[in-house]
Amino acid sequence: MSRREAEPRPGRIRKPIGWSMIVIGVLVAISAFLVYRRDGIDGVTAILTNDLALFGGILPRVLAGCLLGAFIAEILPHEKVSQSLGPQSGLKGLLIGTAFGAILPGGPFTAYPVASALLSVGADFGATIALVVSWTLIGYGRAVAWELPIMGTDFTLWRLVISLPLPVLAGALGRFVYIRMYPKGAPPRVPP
């Protein structure tokens, strides 16, 4: 038996359209209308072409992130992950999460599928928070591709240095709060 459909991964309920999308959709529609009122149809198409190019550039990276997450969830051994990134992993787990987030390649959105995969194979909230915050703040993907050209080298490097301790702090705070919120471990999942 190679298929494991009987055991879906937790937290991966796929909803293509949800309330969050409707909220953003309405916001976008109103904004596009306001742009049309202010700048006419030229303003609307100028933004559209610019953002379509951006969208085309992002898509392959998103695909890579999804595949990376799926592979990681499949190949990482559960007991190893919970040992090095689980609730008992201590400062070392937070540092591993931070390092992993910092070296994780890719532009926007690649880290989220990977983080979700790690959660499902035994990483705890603290280490995963360290990973997401580290990827957000010290990951080189966003910094090199966008921040450096827009904000300049001085600002970017200075911000990176200041950000270095922050992922570990966020992860530690996450663990501290989590243990007090759920002293008996994670609450049982509500059956759908």
Binding site: M21, I24, F55, R61, G69, A70, A73, L119, F155, G174
Partner: protein
């Protein structure tokens, strides 16, 4: 070679590396993960389309002076707090927060305030939380993560004030 190209090579190199490990575990492991990853991708594309294409319009109608005007060097902790709220309200996407941060810096914004703005935007842009983090990760984790990272931009601003600009 541009930086973006190097990043893409690294990214797809990592995919190939973990993919080959999966293949060594067996062909069925490889196809199962490929199917899983592709399904995730297909499900997320409409959201990314809406998010990336839409954020341009949202950014175009947000009055920039409201975001950048309150972040002056004398605005102190009130300015930092404003920066954090403005960062959370700025739409996600890869560029907008940095662009507005650059405008703020050029029009005389204080460095700690701009740091707080950029970091708050990176951590909690509402549109990114709703559109991208929630569909990918368990919602409970996303809210928890956002809540415990709340002190982070303030901490960064404090560090920036303590170190000073080089």
């Amino acid at each position: 070679m541009t930086a973006a190209l190097i990043i893409d090579i690294l990214l797809w190199g990592s995919v190939a590396a973990v993919g080959s490990i999966a293949l060594r575990r067996g062909r069925s492991v490889l196809t199962a993960s490929l199917r899983e990853g592709s399904m995730d991708f297909i499900n997320i594309v409409p959201r990314i389309a809406l998010g990336v294409i839409g954020s341009g319009y949202i950014a175009a109608v947000i009055p920039q002076e409201i975001i950048t005007g309150w972040l002056g060097p004398d605005s102190g902790w009130l300015g930092v707090t404003t920066a954090v709220i403005a960062g959370a309200a700025t739409p996600g996407g890869p560029v907008i927060g940095f662009s507005l941060g650059a405008v703020a810096l050029k029009s005389g914004g204080g460095a700690p305030q701009v740091i707080a703005y950029v970091i708050a935007w990176a951590l909690f842009a509402f549109q990114r939380l709703l559109l991208f983090e929630i569909p990918f990760m368990p919602a409970r984790f996303v809210w928890f993560r956002a809540a415990v990272s709340l002190p982070i931009p303030f901490l960064a601003a404090a560090l920036a004030m303590a170190i000073g600009r080089p």
